[in-house]
Symmetry: C2
Subunit: 201 residues, 2 copies
């Protein structure tokens, strides 16, 4: 059984969080998902609907997997030292670290991605790059794996990346099974990226 | 501005709800999303994480759009007369009614889908059919539109269906824009369904 910490903060993007949690949550014999935030209780998403955090940052940073979503809230997040300290510790402790969309900005800001390959949302790519000048940013990629770091492009792509994480931890057949249960067509090629070309470099 | 009522109940499926709400929520000048449940406050999903309902069934059933997710909770939901009464009223009042996965079982149980074409999750199709014997169930379909009723297949398919709803209400270009913002490849053909064939009739 692996414990998954899902960081949540005001202004997180709904699908960044719940796409991955749907797929991990379908394997309830393998993953236990815990929402973690600065305070326990309701945390409003960028779309208004709020989710509940059940654990605080202060209550620990030792999880098997770490999931960092993106969203408008990352803009203030990169200036929140308590949050960044927790992300740095939790990323160090985890077996697998996942970011979706601008969640990679938070992870990059801690220095954890320095010297590693990573990607992010194509719409906010320039701003994300500024948060980690020592990161080897890959613009054309649906997601990027480098060691234990999995970073994905925008909003919906966290789902494809999560299936790749499941494939690594439990085999490709299980990942494909989860996709079928969800009637989801897995884009399993991390280099397939028709969206990168839509924005100027 | 259109008000969207998202029904939530214990044991709803995360992505059934949050895929559609991500896309509708990105058009915040057009849609206002409200979570509705029997009681106000935390409602646990099938995956454990809880969302907050901000309105109760008793507080009204007059919304422009209605979204009914699926999940394990629909199994007891079809026996909950107060819930079914609200779904029947809200569906009658709405301009567009959307179900994802086994959410169509709840809608079918009210009689609202009688004589209409509809679909559901392929894994639970037999059980869903039993909830609405007068419905014209379509097994091979990613989603089905019949008048104001949009019913979709399992878990991830609510996203494709929601883009079709956006296309109807605000034009195809807007739906395509939302897909690009999310780096999502829209399966825009409702008859594309590689999953229906995986299960016996």
């Amino acid at each position: 059984m692996r414990r998954v910490a899902s960081l949540v903060f005001p202004g997180f993007e709904l699908l960044d969080l719940f796409g991955p949690l749907q797929f991990l949550g379908m394997l309830s014999d393998m993953f236990e998902v815990v929402t973690v935030a600065e305070n326990r209780g309701p945390v409003p998403s960028n779309q208004g609907v709020s989710v509940n955090s059940v654990r605080t940052l202060a209550e620990g940073d030792d999880y098997d997997l770490l999931l960092v979503p993106g969203g408008r809230g990352t803009r203030s997040g990169v200036g929140n030292q308590a949050l960044l300290n927790w992300v740095a510790q939790a990323a160090g402790n985890a077996e697998v670290v996942m970011t979706v969309c601008t969640g990679s900005a938070l992870l990059a800001k801690t220095g954890f991605l320095d010297g590693k390959r990573a990607t992010s949302n194509k719409l906010a790519f320039g701003w994300v790059q500024q948060q980690g000048p020592e990161v080897e940013w890959v613009k054309r990629a649906r997601w990027v794996e480098d060691g234990k770091a999995f970073t994905s492009s925008g909003v919906s792509v966290g789902m494809d990346m999560t299936l790749a994480v499941i494939a690594r931890l439990r085999g490709r057949e299980t990942a494909e099974q989860v996709a079928v249960w969800s009637e989801y067509e897995w884009h399993d090629d991390p280099s397939w990226d028709p969206f990168a070309g839509l924005y100027p470099d």
